[in-house]
Amino acid sequence: MNITKELEKLLPEVEKPARYTGGELHAVYKENSALRFGFAFPDTYEIGMSYLGLQILYKVLNDEPEVYCERLFAPSSDMEEQMRKAELPLFTIETKTPARELDFIGFTLQYELSYTNILNMLDLAGIPLLQKERGQKDPLIIGGGPCAYNPEPLADFFDLFVIGEGEEVLPEICSAYIKAKRAEVDRNEILVNLSKIEGVYVPSFYHPTYMNDGRINSIESDPGIPAKVMKRIVPDLNKAPFPLKPLVPLIEVVHDRSVVELFRGCSRGCRFCQAGMVYRPVRERTPKLIISQAKEQLRATGHDEISLLSLSTSDYSGIEPLVTELMKMGREDNVSLSLPSLRLDSFSFKVLEEIQGYKKTGLTFAPEAGTQRLRNVINKSITDEDIYGSMEQAIGLGWKSVKLYFMVGLPTETWEDLDGIVETARKIMNISYRLSGGKKSERIHITVSVSNFVPKPHTPFQWHAQNSPELLHEKHMYLKDRLKTIKGVFFTYHHNAQSQMEALLAKGDRRVGQAIRYAWESGCTFDSWRECFRYEKWVGALEKAGLNIEFYANREGTEDEVFPWDIIDCGVTKEFLLSEWKKAKEEQLTKDCRKGCTGCGLTRIADCGKEKGE
């Protein structure tokens, strides 16, 4: 079947056909490569193309002379319908090669609610879903990214997972594979070879056993296979590959701009935050390198916006001179600067004032919890003075709209903590009235946005029982009733059942895979899109698989609990996480580890840097 020809017939019938055509600037075309890799993003093109990890690994893999990496995305439902009607298999964007003809398909696991899309893509590709049903000719299915830190719900569908950062380990996997392929080694032996590479987890070599109450008894690995898989890190970001000629999409994507990465990791130790735990240690790029990468990327792409990426922009040690320099560059070339996750200090205001100027679009601010007590529990080191001081400054400088982010359902949360959210909004509104002399027309617009806390693996809160959807609903209504009495305050909140399903998939074990399959079979895809999420289908799938969602999402773990993800070592020890969980319950803070080592266990694998006070 000539896919290109068949595709041309379908394209006039679908929305945004350029999602499927390729031909972007800097797309790579290669012939006669020893290994063909499909980098698969289990969501639409616009979302996948906004992801820096895709750009990095596309470069890393294509820099390997013997490897050719192409891209795969989840077709939108209209395209899927057309493809199934025309019996067109899932194909690569670059050369329109059927995905099943590749050597590897590498799925990036960015959010749990994308899992049904993975099964759908495998099915569209004509590849058996279950690892054990795949044969010598089928591609190896590999997963990586943040959700691979608990790969177990997907264990039955994947041949292997990469734990941690992929820049170094993917080329290692490729060269081991090419060697094995040339030696005509069988599939199982290839997997044995790959499991010897640090950071590689081959789920079929691990066997969980369960206790009568449903909890895991133990997870045994096959002889010669490591009991635990240590994550991979790139020790020095200044030497790490970075895309200077990234793909430039032909259609508008979610983040349509150049990106430079300031640093990886975060030293703050917020107890709810998975990224803050698993991406340790903090590794910064030098300002000189960042600026030269920014310049080269802008020159190669023609973008008119550049964004700085990190978990907490303001924590970059040379943030002021760097931002000043980038802004100067931007003024000269009509390039705007985007600074996500900025702490609202006086320098930030100076910068935001210049960036946003007269058209102050809005300010976002994340206190996360409504009271000092609960912020201590979650180890978010921000005080009431920080909040009201920066809001006073913002309103004084002319901002008319602020968005406040909170979580509900955090451990130890009480109704007083929810009152604290209302009080925070009320006090900010009072500041606005005071500064405007009581004029209603000058009043600011406050959006209180509340998300449901989802406990994640490898965090101190992995033991926490998520609030039931009913309790979350009750809390939302409690907040809604009280916030509506303050004029100028708007309230938004997340879908409860979706958050519960996210917790199930985040913390699930190997048995959850069956439910994912049933959910997909009953028609679930794009579960992260609220309008596509079908709770009743998920409930049916769990029932069919004989699983109890509360067991996974809404039950507090015991201290000695064996978690499904205990076979993964994220660098931070379980002992540290447990001590943090206990400190959380005692409302005790743990300091930022730049100010002194807090003993998380990372020094076992990395030098966290002497300048951080060790």
Binding site: I251, D256, R299, A300, G302, H303, K359
Partner: protein, 234 residues
């Protein structure tokens, strides 16, 4: 500051990007080519670039136009080379010349567009020359057009068809037509084809047509490439 007009082609799979996306492609290409555009003054500066007439998604063209202002003076041949070096596959600049617009932008000048439409369909005993004549000989040509609100309105497209010619070739039919285009009156050639094929009792399937725009014209029938106050033409 210097002002120019350029003509470009859109072909291949890039025909599936929208007008907005196309504009973005050119803004970026100018940047990559090192051609600094002049920006408007005011609170929200934007580059001084104006496109002739949006081309429907899925159509190809050999006659698209952009007028633009640059900060410095540029050699037109160098600009063509620099832009073509960096434009994505399927977009190609075919000519650039200095251009001083009159009072109106090129977008406001557009009154007509000419198209070549290929149909790789069945060949039968029909006489295409007569079909075109009979089709245009109708008092009115009514089509159903979807309105923004989702309901349909019946409109007469006969006044929007300036010329129509149909020939047979080895693969099917070649239709040449000149239609009203621009902000005053505009007819998408797909509507014409739909009406024409219904008139000829031939099946209309969108994906069986290749629609190519050939050129854009002002009210006096001059190609946009020949407008402006300069003497020299492409």
């Amino acid at each position: 500051m210097s002002a120019y007009i350029l003509r470009f082609e859109k072909s291949g799979t890039i025909r599936f990007i929208s007008h907005l996306d196309l504009m973005r492609q050119f803004h970026r290409a100018f940047k990559r080519a090192g051609i600094a555009l002049a920006y408007s003054q005011g609170f929200n500066p934007h580059p001084k670039v104006c496109f002739g007439q949006p081309l429907s998604l899925g159509h190809v063209s050999v006659g698209e136009y952009i007028e633009f202002e640059t900060l410095g003076d540029h050699n037109t041949k160098d600009m063509i080379a620099a832009l073509n070096e960096t434009l994505p596959q399927g977009l190609k600049v075919t000519a650039v010349r200095p251009f001083t617009a009159g009072k109106r932008t090129i977008a406001a000048l557009v009154q007509y567009a000419s198209y070549e439409i290929l149909w790789n369909g069945i060949r039968d005993q029909m006489d295409p020359a007569n079909a075109a004549k009979d089709f245009l000989g109708q008092d009115s040509i009514l089509i159903e057009k979807r309105k923004k609100k989702g309901n349909f309105a019946e409109i007469d497209i006969r006044p929007f068809v300036k010329a129509l010619d149909i020939e047979k070739n080895n693969d099917g039919l070649v239709v040449h037509t000149t239609l009203a285009a621009g902000s005053n009156a505009n007819l998408n050639p797909e509507y014409l084809i739909k009406a024409l094929f219904a008139f000829m009792a031939l099946p209309y399937e969108k994906e069986t047509f290749v629609i190519k725009r050939l050129d854009l014209f002002d009210e006096e029938g001059r190609s946009l490439g020949e407008t402006g106050t300069e003497e020299n033409i492409f």
